[in-house]
Symmetry: C2
Subunit: 353 residues, 2 copies
């Protein structure tokens, strides 16, 4: 590589194209060949996702008809407390949700690794731990092991939390982000962009009223309800890069097209107007308590009903359809015409999660 | 709590008494009741370690005669490159070793979560990733999923790496750090204090010659050889706080005494003399490629032979014995007399791993 500006930028951590390039060029060539799937693994079978699948987690076949889903996320959100949540709630929800979208919704076990800056008050740490405990209670998951490190004053901005998690699924019962089929309906579990817009508003000290809150929450209960109600063929939680990034990734991995009705995308009025003022499209920014699904068309209404009947699923909506046209691309029907829904190169919001 | 100095200090992350207090007072009360064991769990049985066991990992029974060991470690070592290794080798070894000392030595799967500071060169990241890949190769483990976050310039000192890991063990075949029995021999796998002394020397720019190198390495192969050769009743990897901390913790948890022959403790001449100059006892500082075991007395010689025959085990030694006397305490036989081997309140070395 040449010497010009070959450094890490915030875009490398923002969930967009720059991050994908980093992973594809730097990480995969070194670590690929993961025993968990990656395409041609004998034990795992062709659909058992390993590292190269770049799914929300890896599936490790246990050889007894069961598999363990393993995932990890480090959380560096700033500010650590924000409207609707904090870094503790985020750390638990983020990992629970990555497990849930692989189909592991019950009996989840998490790790908790804290890195704290010297000088941070114990009160603040306790408040974050309280929040983690409450969120574990809500998600019916357990923190079973952990680690604590301290960095010097000025060596870290307050706190970073890594949570890894494991859940069990039947060896043939997990869900990937690439399983959509032509004709499947696209379902979202609720309003889009809440986390990203709330974070940005909080950072910029905009006051949009109290309705602008992060959606950060575990979705495993909602996902379980959906999977009970019908055939879910693909799932992803739309975090960094938002719905736009998630649905594009799902389409690209399946090599199928998706058409999305813009008018069907649920966005709260507060988020819509804040997004306009801030110059940010809510479907391009992070959610932390939502899921995007592809669902068998015969089951879509039943899945929708099941989700709408649960707390947190009231605003679930069918927003699009999978097609064999324009493979790998997402087309947005705007009412004025059609355009490709693109993915930002870098998320406009560093340290969103 | 009163307002006076109730803040995080480097001692909270140093593996000593202060860190234990943090975990006991802040973390356990919130997260205890982990389904993985913690004493009274029906599925796990009384010996399946969960969070409150504060072991190197948690054991999650799979219900089919197998269990999954889960562990996590965040690594914040400074400098990120040091004599004998770097943060990448450390991140893989640290997690492999935590799994190995629970008895999970083969088929290990790791996560890799990077937090990188904006402005760090891609060359540096690539070098660290190369090191992780090489260490995975050496440990025959795989990185199966990951996460990448970026913090702004000045918000993090270069890089932090979290690795979590899972390994499989028979449900009744894992090893804890509390299983020692009266009469068992204490075995260490090699020389003590190498990592801590090498790090401190590198930071202080002392030149003690090229022999002063970190011992950072995966020990799963060595542990497997030991377990094949005899009955290992307890294990721990002596990282932060060193051998002194590990053996005290093992004795305290078993509520048994340990006597250690000081003269039998393997320490290289370079580490011993550097330790004297730096005013640091090598048995009080971190190792990153060693293991402390309690072994059935009938098997101790066979286990020793098996380890000495493997690369990295040449300096393995029998250093002590478990006794019913002075329960929970470790007595050091110095040749001049006997004294309790204490644990430092804080490790003298912040950010050692």
């Amino acid at each position: 590589m040449s010497g010009q500006s070959e450094v890490i930028t915030t875009a490398h951590g923002a969930g967009g194209d720059r991050m994908r390039a980093l992973i594809q060029e730097l990480i995969l060539p070194r670590f690929d060949g993961a025993r968990a799937g990656s395409g041609a693994d004998a034990e795992g079978g062709p659909h058992s996702p390993g590292l190269s699948a770049l799914d929300d987690g890896a599936v490790l076949p246990m050889g007894n008809g069961e598999a363990v889903v393993l995932t990890t996320d480090s959380h560096v959100v700033t500010p650590t407390e924000f409207p609707g949540g904090d870094i503790g709630r985020l750390a638990v929800s983020g990992t629970v949700n990555d497990l849930a979208v692989m189909g592991a919704t019950e009996g989840l076990s998490l790790t908790c690794s804290l890195i704290v800056e010297e000088g941070v008050s114990l009160d603040r740490v306790e408040s974050i731990l309280d929040s983690m405990a409450e969120t574990c209670e809500a998600a019916d998951c357990r923190i079973v092991t952990g680690d604590t490190k301290v960095m010097g004053s000025g060596e870290l901005d307050a706190i970073a939390i890594n949570t890894a998690g494991v859940g069990r699924v039947p060896a043939d019962g997990f869900v990937t982000d690439r399983g959509m089929r032509p004709g499947d309906r696209i379902v979202v579990s609720g309003t889009l962009g809440d986390h990203g817009i709330a974070l940005l508003a909080a950072r910029e000290d905009f006051d949009f009223g109290e309705e602008l809150m992060s959606d950060v929450a575990p979705v495993n209960d909602l996902v379980a309800a959906a999977m009970d109600a019908g055939t879910v063929t693909a799932m992803k939680d739309p975090t960094r890069g938002g719905f736009a990034s998630a649905i594009n990734e799902m389409a690209a991995k399946a090599d199928l097209g998706v058409t999305v009705e813009e008018a069907a995308l649920p966005v709260t009025p507060s988020v819509a107007s804040a997004g306009e003022i801030l110059g940010i499209d809510p479907i391009q920014v992070a959610n932390e308590g939502k899921v995007v699904m592809a669902v068998d068309s015969d089951d879509a209404e039943a899945v929708l009903d099941a989700m709408q009947a649960r707390p947190g699923g009231e605003d679930a909506a069918i927003v699009g359809e999978v097609t064999e046209d324009h493979p790998g691309r997402v087309v947005l029907e705007t009412g004025f015409g059609r355009r490709y829904l693109s993915v930002l190169e870098g998320d406009p919001l560093p340290r969103i999660c």
